[in-house]
């Protein structure tokens, strides 16, 4: 059994890499491995955007990630600095910056790069999915 730390750098829809990362995570869990954390950085922070509306018949990746995390207890962390710059904010940051509302998908959390470093230390396999 291995423990994975997964770094996601691409935005949903714009890059296939997010779907690949999701299927990889699903397969790892199905095989009985652990995922220490999925960390979303660069455009990957858009995976935490609750406002994404999927085209008919598809399901938005933020929702899919959220459901996977809920079913398996996976930590989904969005880099706060990258997120703010790209307009993904939780309620607290929305209030702090006077924005109308937060838009962070349930199941995701905003935090710093330290959480990624921590995940790398606890995992024995580290993989990046870039755009």
């Amino acid at each position: 059994m291995h423990t994975f730390a997964i770094l996601v750098l691409g935005a949903p829809v714009s890059s296939q890499s997010v779907h690949t990362a999701y299927e990889f995570a699903r397969a790892a869990l199905a095989a009985g491995h652990r995922i220490e954390r999925v960390f979303f950085y660069h455009d990957g922070v858009l995976c935490g955007n609750q406002l994404q509306i999927a085209a008919g018949g598809e399901r938005a990746l933020p929702v899919q990630w959220s459901e996977l995390a809920g079913a398996h207890g996976v930590d989904l962390v969005v880099c706060v600095a990258s997120a703010l710059k790209r307009g993904v904010v939780d309620e607290a940051e929305a209030r702090r910056y006077g924005k109308a509302a937060g838009n962070l998908q349930d199941g995701f959390e905003l935090s710093g790069l330290g959480q990624w470093v921590d995940a790398c230390l606890k995992a024995d396999r580290v993989i990046t999915f870039g755009p």
């Binding site: 994975f4 296939q16 990889f24 699903r26 397969a27 199905a30 580290v126 990046t128």
Partner: protein
């Protein structure tokens, strides 16, 4: 080491840069647009001295490449991709 490459080799330098630094016992997993490097006879097909090449079957199927793959390229499903990662302590992604 296991390398992933997700770009076509014809429009992007990712595969070339990857192969330049690969060790003989490394493996390269072609994913997403990277699977175009596996087409038989293509000008960027890695030579016989290159590391072992794999291609993600879902990406090969999506792009209609199954009948056109070079010999020696092994297909992986997502479960196989995970398993191969378990066999290599360090994974480097080229995109």
């Amino acid at each position: 080491m296991l390398h992933t490459v997700n770009k076509s080799p014809h429009g992007h330098s990712a595969l070339a840069e990857c192969l330049r630094v690969c060790a003989a016992d490394d493996v390269v997993v072609l994913i997403e647009d990277g699977v175009y490097a596996a087409i038989a006879g293509n000008s960027r097909l890695p030579g016989p001295d290159a590391p072992k090449l794999y291609a993600l079957s879902a990406d090969v199927a999506a792009r209609g490449l199954a009948p056109h793959l070079a010999e020696g390229v092994a297909l992986l499903d997502y479960a196989g991709f995970v398993q191969l990662c378990c066999e290599h302590p360090v994974i480097q992604s080229w995109y």
